[in-house]
């Protein structure tokens, strides 16, 4: 029997997030010390245990006869034949293969679309989203446990910030919002995008100019008050570091008006943040063909930006010609799952496989946003694998890679410790013909529970 201690992840994890992990570790420790008889935790901390035929962790090796320990909606441990406390809730899935829930990097789910082309980077997809009105369970049934909803766009402009949701929460039946301000979605053409950035740059210059004028004014005003402020200045400078920082600042502020920067157009604020490297979000650009990729790469290099791409439809050509560009730059890209046709030929090939081979980080999207397409995702993935895409890459493309694209790879996307307990239960290996998602767990809760007799 393997003790929980035997699992080697402890040290690494403790380095990463000591504060957050500490209580958990303690719990585990207690568990092992008292052979699981007594747990100091309350009823809310009751462990959930999944016993499965096989666990596909994505982050590491597959684990046969896996036991997954879940607490507070997170995976606490995973391994073969782990011991677990007696009062745990055990989900017996020894006839199931389990894997992390699917992550969709760009979708509308079943949200309606609006047509709006302007640049308004400050708008939020969240404002289009009414949690109580959206039934996302059908998507969960297809295995999607996390999805980024991009703001509606009419095929141009910068429509705003995406929203990350989970189809169902652990508490109520409503979708749960994971991030209300995720990536900035760009549907502009190259030229439009460049002009938007140029406008944002103008905004920065506007502030800079105002600041310079203000400083100039201050300098002119300074000689008048020089006798008074001159002795004060060295005093401030020599003040101990531990002294309250506000004191010296407020003193001159009393005599001088503080600089009031001119307001920045709100629709450009996120772009200004990007240009000033203050942004904590990514850019995701919708592209239609290879030329657009080259164009955006060029513009983004000029402005020292980096973007991920999403291709939802291909117009004249597809991304075949941009594979090298995307691969060399190791870009993140989300593409619909389907075999592509070499431009102007009838030769089919797997774009996903080519992109992965070249070095790009591929996330897979269903061919469209309707529920049927989500349900077909698995069949489509199998086709891709049959056309030369390694299974491992295919698995990552629906779990870890989109999680990375969304910046959530520390929270979800794999089955390892400290990741959200978003778990799919399949009746067979995911790439086996006919394998289906039977049950779905999101955040430790069985959102799609097992049906009797299945």
């Amino acid at each position: 029997m393997t003790s929980w201690f035997a699992h080697s992840d402890l040290d690494r994890r403790s380095q990463r997030q000591p504060g957050a992990v500490r209580p958990v570790v303690a719990a585990l420790l207690a568990l092992s010390l008292f052979s699981g008889a007594v747990l100091a935790a309350g009823p809310g901390d009751r462990f959930t245990i999944i016993r499965a035929k096989k666990a596909i962790t994505v982050s590491g090796d597959e684990v046969d006869n896996a036991v997954v320990v879940i607490s507070n909606g997170k995976i606490e441990n995973i391994g073969p034949s782990l011991d677990f406390p007696a009062n745990s809730r055990v989900i017996d899935a020894r006839d199931r293969v389990i894997m992390p829930g699917l992550v969709n990097a760009a979708t509308r789910f079943n949200l309606p679309r609006f047509s709006r082309r302007e640049v308004h980077a400050n708008w939020l997809a969240k404002d289009e989203f009414l949690p109580h009105a959206q039934d996302l369970l059908p998507f969960a049934r297809a295995g999607v446990t996390t999805g980024a909803i991009y703001p509606s766009s009419g095929g141009g402009g910068v429509p705003g910030r995406a929203l990350i949701v989970s189809p169902a929460s652990s508490k109520a039946g409503e979708p749960r919002i994971l991030r209300d301000k995720s990536y900035l979605y760009v549907t502009a053409e190259k030229r439009e995008w460049r002009e938007a950035l140029e406008k944002a740059k103008k905004e920065i210059e506007k502030v800079d100019k105002a600041k310079a004028a203000f400083d100039e004014q201050q300098k002119k005003a300074a000689p008048a008050s020089a006798p008074a402020s001159a002795p004060a200045a060295p005093g401030n400078a020599s003040a101990p570091a531990g002294a309250p920082a506000s004191a010296p600042v407020t003193q001159p502020a009393a005599s001088q008006p503080a600089f009031q920067p001119p307001p920045i157009a709100p629709e450009l604020q996120p772009l200004v943040d990007l240009l000033q490297k203050k942004a904590d979000f990514k850019i995701v650009i919708e592209v239609e063909n290879a030329t657009e990729v080259l164009g955006f790469e060029q513009v983004n290099e000029k402005y020292e930006l980096k973007a991920a791409y999403v291709a939802r439809f291909f117009v004249q050509t597809d991304l075949f010609q941009a594979v090298k560009t995307l691969g060399d730059a190791k870009r993140q890209i989300a593409i619909p799952v389907r075999l592509n046709i070499m431009p102007e030929t009838e030769n089919r090939y797997s774009l996903a496989a080519e992109l992965s081979k070249a070095g790009a980080e591929v996330s897979i999207l269903p061919v469209s946003d309707d529920e049927a397409s989500f349900a077909d995702l698995w069949d489509d993935l199998r086709t891709q694998v049959a056309n030369g895409w390694p299974k491992e890459d295919a698995l990552k493309s629906v779990t870890l890679n989109p999680a990375k694209l969304l910046g959530l790879d520390e929270q979800l996307g794999t089955m390892q410790k400290e990741r959200a307990a978003d778990i799919l239960f399949l009746d067979a290996d995911p790439f086996a013909p006919g394998a289906r998602v039977r049950e779905v767990m999101i955040g430790g809760e069985m959102v799609i529970p097992r049906k009797r007799g299945h």
Binding site: Q17, L29, L178, I204, A279, N289, E301, Q411
Partner: protein
């Protein structure tokens, strides 16, 4: 474009020191606190675990997802961008981190360090017969290109060690063809931003040897596979066709041009008088607005006028306008230009002609009318720059071969039919075409300093048996016949006498017809012509070898059965 490239190159280089503080801190932490220490600590606060939903901790986001947070934020925060003076001369090149925050400008791109490491790109087309168009033909010569420009032309040029070589032995090197009218190759307006550089029409144009084409009012290059260096000239054309369509329009145009001319003259007079005469009155510039602004540029020589005109009367009107107001015009059509060639010559017009296009003479006219295949030659003899374009200015895969830009050189061949020399006919699709678009300083001939837009052909540019083997745009190979599917199967060795492959690779994948196939008639007699289904599939046998000696083999199958009755 080039300065952008340099700038980008700098930016792309990773700054090695960025992540140092963070990683240093974490390793220190890891080393300092051992696993047993954790054990003890954990026991103490075992019960106090807190559920943490992801959404509830936005504050931890930067920490948990470092990839979303550029590491450059830190220097930017400690030294806020907007508090710094906008420009600190000298400081930017010296320290790379200082450049991070808001300095998206490209001003620091031309630092000497960057220039040194920026590699020069060389390309040499060697051992070809070089048709410079403007400077004669050089046998067995080399064209050496550097960074997209022609550096040198001549025999036995020293070639740099790192240089792409295009072997043109037994081949001919021409400047890329210029399509003076084109639709569907580039998108317009703003071709450089809107054109898909991988589209089929781009590849077709490259295969046809076209390296530059009109794109709306702009002129752009066919940079297959690259978005760099596409735009050749922005909006240099004023189309007067609309204004000239009706008599009323013509009168209005002349009135407008009169206004502009008067203003320009007054302005010039004022410039002259200003020094000596204090009372000199500056002309009112406010009258110049709207289309008059464009007309002013036209009369200043900044823009080229174009006009569609075919009939003598129309041609004379355009010629008179150009001569009267002294602007440069490019006339499209000019079907009856042979009749009024001297008028056009006096106006120093450029002409875009489709030699093959026919207009029958007007019946009962008391003066010569109708088109002539010799028009192009006659106009050229009168000293006009004549450019040639097919009637259908697109690249088409519809199948009606030889009537579009895919065979631009064939239209020039029709100019030869009209009496033009081969050399002059070549000018009509190269240098004179470039002149008609106002880009003759960049493209249209092989000259030192011009853009390295070259094509390598396996024969005379105007021969119907010649194909483009290599197309070079901006010093980069964009099309190679062997590597592109389009025409690789046609004369694969370049020898016109040698037959190409059969189409077995296309259809049927195998030429085996099943025994019970419905439409195979009873084999009453062996197939004629020596080509049965079996030997047609092997390229070396049957039709291929017999085709090489065509005249001898042709008649066997051709016995005229019905004719004998």
């Amino acid at each position: 474009m080039r300065s952008f490239a340099i700038c980008n190159w700098i930016v792309r280089r990773p700054a090695p020191s960025r992540r140092c503080p963070a990683s240093g801190a974490s390793s220190r932490r890891a080393g300092g606190i051992g696993a047993w220490a954790w054990l003890v600590a954990a026991l103490a606060i075992a019960a106090s675990s807190q559920p943490r939903a992801i959404a509830e901790e936005p504050a931890s986001q930067p920490e948990s997802a470092p990839s979303t947070q550029p590491a450059e934020t830190q220097p930017a925060e400690t030294q806020p961008a907007d508090s710094r003076p906008a420009s600190q001369p000298g400081s930017a090149p010296a320290s790379k981190p200082g450049k991070s925050a808001s300095s998206t400008s490209t001003s620091s791109s031309s630092t000497s360090a960057a220039a040194e490491e920026e590699k020069d790109e060389y390309l040499a087309v060697v051992h070809g017969t070089v048709h410079t168009v403007t400077g004669g033909t050089l046998p067995n010569a080399t064209v050496l290109c550097k960074n997209g420009r022609i550096l040198d032309i001549g025999a036995n040029l020293p070639i740099p060690t790192e240089c792409k070589i295009v072997d043109a032995t037994n081949r001919h090197v021409y400047p890329g063809f210029v399509a003076v009218a084109a639709a569907g190759i580039h998108n317009a307006p703003n071709p450089e931003d809107t054109t898909d550089v991988f589209r089929l029409s781009f590849e077709l144009a490259s295969a046809a040897g076209i390296t530059a084409a009109a794109a709306g009012e702009d002129v752009a290059k066919v940079t297959l596979g690259s978005i760099d260096g596409m735009l050749l000239r922005r909006g240099g054309l004023v189309d007067l066709s609309g204004a000239l369509r009706t008599p009323l329009g013509r009168r209005e145009l002349r009135r407008d041009l009169d206004k502009v001319r008067k203003y320009l003259r007054d302005q010039r007079r004022y410039e002259l008088e200003k020094a000596s005469n204090e009372d000199a009155e500056e002309p009112d510039k406010s009258v110049i607005k709207g289309k008059l602004e464009r007309y002013m540029k036209l009369l200043n020589g900044e823009l080229l006028a174009t006009a569609q005109a075919d009939r003598v009367t129309d041609l004379r009107e355009v010629a008179d306008l150009a001569a009267t107001y002294g602007f440069q015009v490019t006339i499209r059509g000019a079907a009856e230009g042979w009749i009024c060639a001297s008028d056009l010559a006096r106006a120093r017009a450029n002409v875009i002609v489709t030699p093959r296009r026919q207009i029958d003479p007007t019946p009962n006219s008391n003066q010569p009318t109708g088109s002539s295949i010799e028009t192009a030659r006659i106009l050229q003899d009168h000293g006009l720059a004549v450019a040639v374009v097919p009637a259908q200015p697109t690249v088409s895969v519809g199948g009606l071969a030889g009537r579009d830009l895919l065979n631009l050189n064939m239209e020039a061949a029709f100019a030869v039919r009209g009496g033009m020399s081969n050399e002059n006919a070549l000018r009509t699709i190269t240098i004179d075409a470039a002149r008609a678009l106002g880009v003759e300083d960049r493209v249209g001939s092989i000259e030192v300093g011009k853009d390295a837009d070259l094509i390598v052909m396996d024969g005379d540019a105007l021969s119907y048996l010649s194909l483009v083997w290599t197309t070079i745009v901006n010093g980069k190979v964009v099309y190679e016949k062997e590597k592109s599917n389009l025409l690789s199967h046609v004369r694969p060795t370049g020898d016109p006498d040698q037959s190409d492959t059969t189409f077995d690779d296309i259809w049927p994948r195998t030429l085996e017809w099943p025994e019970n196939f419905n439409y195979v008639a009873k084999p009453k007699k062996p197939a004629k012509g020596g080509a049965t289904s079996s030997n047609a599939s092997s390229p070396s046998s049957g039709p291929t070898s017999s085709a090489a000696s065509a005249p001898a083999s042709a008649p066997r199958a051709a016995e005229s059965k019905p004719a004998s009755e």
